[in-house]
């Protein structure tokens, strides 16, 4: 005789799930009891928020077709997961989030560890289910995986009361197809609109592609790059779009936005045609949306029709999957010569390069990140946390065939270490490096135990400045250097901490020490912590 928990595990197996990230508790205990006897490896994180981040890293580590799965208990387990879910939602990362729930009959009576998690997560999930009957489990799981990875991707929550997990079922049959009359995302681009895009490109003198995270989510980076190369069109990216084109590619002109490259923003302003692809024209990327539509043609390609026209009204809206659309666009041949424009962009790239005056007493984070990423394997996965480290990473990282991950929409500190654990689980053959500041590190340092317990070797770089640097910088510019509640005076000694976890450690105090330390840090595929001591007063701008 099977029970609901058996069925849940079988559904996950039918979807090809090999790992789940989670934290058990009474309300999810029937499920974990069945995981125990399955071939699924359950990774025990040290706090639930990390379960969602790890699942996010897992999803992004490969091709986003198989969403990462996290499973936690009811009440505080579920509410702790929320920040991770919201983080994934803001960046359209597909996840399956399973929460245990109290007995169905007790729902709504405020019993021990009851939380209305479907209600609480309403605005952070693509969809959610509260399972009411054990018979519904196969359909719900099938739908949940489908909804998570199609259209505009995102997290889906399945809340399963404990009595449903325990209820007996006679047989199990996983549905082969999804039948949802309500949910049919557009995949193919409209042919007439595609032709219009080509017509406008023929007329354009200064076109530019602005690639966002949606390109990676649709697995369309090769198609986009082929199109850019075929027609010699320059590319800039949003923060989530870093790694769509290799950062050292001759057509790549950096990240746009208020923390981006000056020459990338200038390119956007001076273009006569912008192809906004898989990007939502969010405030940090495009601070004045009316500027990018004034006196220019804007083509907006996105799988989510609601994003088109939300922040800027495009000339040509094109709804559909980025990969399909660029596959189609590649079939058109047209005459174009943008070489003068590209020369201008290259001149700007030299003239407007950011000039820094690093303090020689410390490690220069910009140079350090550049050196680190150049020394990393070509296909390595680089995960930036949030804060100054993130901006220095975006500004200086070199990504060739590898991946770049960060939390762009939500800016959740503590993302990098659990995401690295998830990514490494998914891609054991790849080098995975998390880069964080000493603030974010302390939000997730408990996960070093997770990496150790499950033998998941991750490389962690901590840029130490003894401050919440990004906030300190903000207070420097906006509050007259009144550094309110940003000192991290209680920092632990990272060397001792690393040794407590039995993880090798190296500290870099200045640029001269960096090269050898990085070589040592990357040499073997084992966990390693590298601390780079940077100038507490350094700023990213």
């Amino acid at each position: 005789m099977m029970n609901g928990a058996d069925i849940m595990v079988k559904c996950l197996q039918a979807e090809g799930v090999k790992h789940i990230f989670g934290y058990p508790g009474v309300a999810i205990a029937p499920f974990y009891d069945k995981v125990y006897e399955s071939d699924i490896e359950a990774v025990l994180v040290r706090t639930e928020q990390s379960a969602a981040h790890a699942a996010s890293g897992y999803t992004r580590g490969y091709n986003t077709e198989l969403p990462g799965v996290c499973a936690v208990t009811s009440g505080p387990g579920a509410t702790n997961l929320i920040t991770g879910i919201a983080t994934a939602y803001a960046d359209s990362i597909p996840l399956i989030c399973i929460t245990g729930q109290v007995n169905s009959e007790l729902l709504g009576s405020d019993v021990f560890q009851e939380a209305d998690i479907t209600g609480a997560c309403e605005s952070f999930v693509k969809y959610s289910y509260l399972v009411r009957s054990v018979e519904d489990i196969p359909r719900i799981f099938k739908e949940a995986f489908h909804v998570a990875i199609t259209g505009r991707k995102g997290p889906v929550l399945i809340d399963v009361p404990i009595d449903i997990q325990q209820a007996s079922v006679k047989s199990f049959k996983y549905p082969e197809t999804v039948e949802m009359r309500t949910y049919k995302p557009t995949v193919k681009g409209n042919g007439a609109q595609l032709k219009k895009v080509i017509k406008e490109l023929e007329k354009a003198k200064r076109p530019i592609i602005c690639a966002g995270g949606g390109v990676l989510l649709s697995k369309g980076k090769y198609e986009l790059l082929s199109f850019a190369e075929k027609n010699n069109i320059p590319v800039v990216t949003t923060m989530m779009g870093i790694s769509v084109v290799p950062t050292d590619h001759p057509l790549c002109f950096g990240m746009v936005g208020n923390n981006g490259k000056v020459y990338a923003n200038k390119a956007m302003n001076e273009a006569d045609l912008i192809m906004m692809v898989g990007a939502r024209v969010a405030d940090r990327a495009i601070s004045q949306p009316d500027l990018i539509t004034r006196n220019k043609v804007m083509v907006h390609i996105d799988v989510d029709p609601a994003e088109i026209g939300k922040n800027a009204g495009p000339t040509i809206p094109l709804v559909g999957d980025v990969r399909h659309i660029f596959d189609e666009l590649l079939t058109y041949d047209f005459e174009s010569d943008y070489s003068a424009w590209i020369k201008e962009l290259n001149d700007n790239k030299v003239a407007l390069a950011r000039k820094r005056n690093p303090n020689p007493e410390f490690v220069d984070p910009a140079g350090f990140i550049s050196m680190l990423s150049h020394k990393m394997a070509k296909d390595a996965i680089y995960i930036a946390d949030v804060g100054q480290n993130q901006i220095w990473s975006c500004d200086n990282v070199c990504i060739r065939e590898g991946k770049f991950m960060t939390t762009g929409g939500m800016g959740t500190m503590g993302y990098s270490i659990p995401a690295a654990i998830g990514a490494k689980c998914r891609r054991p053959e790849r080098q995975v490096v998390a880069v964080c500041g000493d603030g974010a590190f302390q939000m997730s340092m408990c996960e070093l135990a997770t990496a150790r317990q499950h033998n998941i070797p991750i490389k962690v770089v901590v840029l130490t400045n003894g401050f919440l640097g990004m906030v300190r910088e903000y207070q420097h510019f906006n509050y007259n250097d009144r550094y309110s509640v940003v000192r991290l005076d209680g920092n632990p000694d990272l060397e001792k901490l690393a040794s407590a976890y039995d993880i090798p450690f190296v500290r870099v105090r200045n640029d001269a020490e960096a090269s050898d330390a990085i070589d040592e840090f990357l040499r073997e595929d084992s966990s390693y912590i590298m601390e780079a001591v940077i100038d507490p007063m350094d700023i990213v701008r």
């Binding site: 209600g119 309403e122 505009r152 309500t182 029709p305 609601a306």
Partner: protein, 179 residues
Amino acid sequence: MKTVQNYNEVDMKRKVFQILVENTSGVLSRISGLFSRRGYSIESITCGDTADKAVSRVTIVASGDDEILDQIEKQLAKLVDVVDIRELKPDESVYRELALIKVKAETSERVGLITLANTFRANVIDVSNHGVIVEITGNSGKINAFIDLISGYEILEIARTGIAGLRRGTDGVVSPKIR
């Protein structure tokens, strides 16, 4: 991005949306949550069964400028539970709203009130010692006009349903299954 706080009052418009939704638990909170968290304003919302038990028809009257109304339609369409959404344009649709109005009216005042009600084809559906309940059906304008008209009486309570509507003709029907 425009929010309700910063749009120009002059550009304000109303639209009536007819939405067919799967009857899942929480579908109404998903819809109303969308309005509240994105700061859209909702004038009325009604919900009822259709011939298909799995589907409900929700009629929403929303207001905003063109951009906001466009976003409201797109964001509603994006909800996984939404089968179909379309605007019920005034010249292509019929709208009806029902109101129950409790009026304080002593015996001597009732005849006048009933005469007014009759001109509006409103019905008196309950009479008590000191008052009556009038039922009136029509478009919102007609109901407002009636309420204005009887403002000389003391209105004790009003219950309005919000509008329900359908497109004229037969091409507004989404699927033969859902009526």
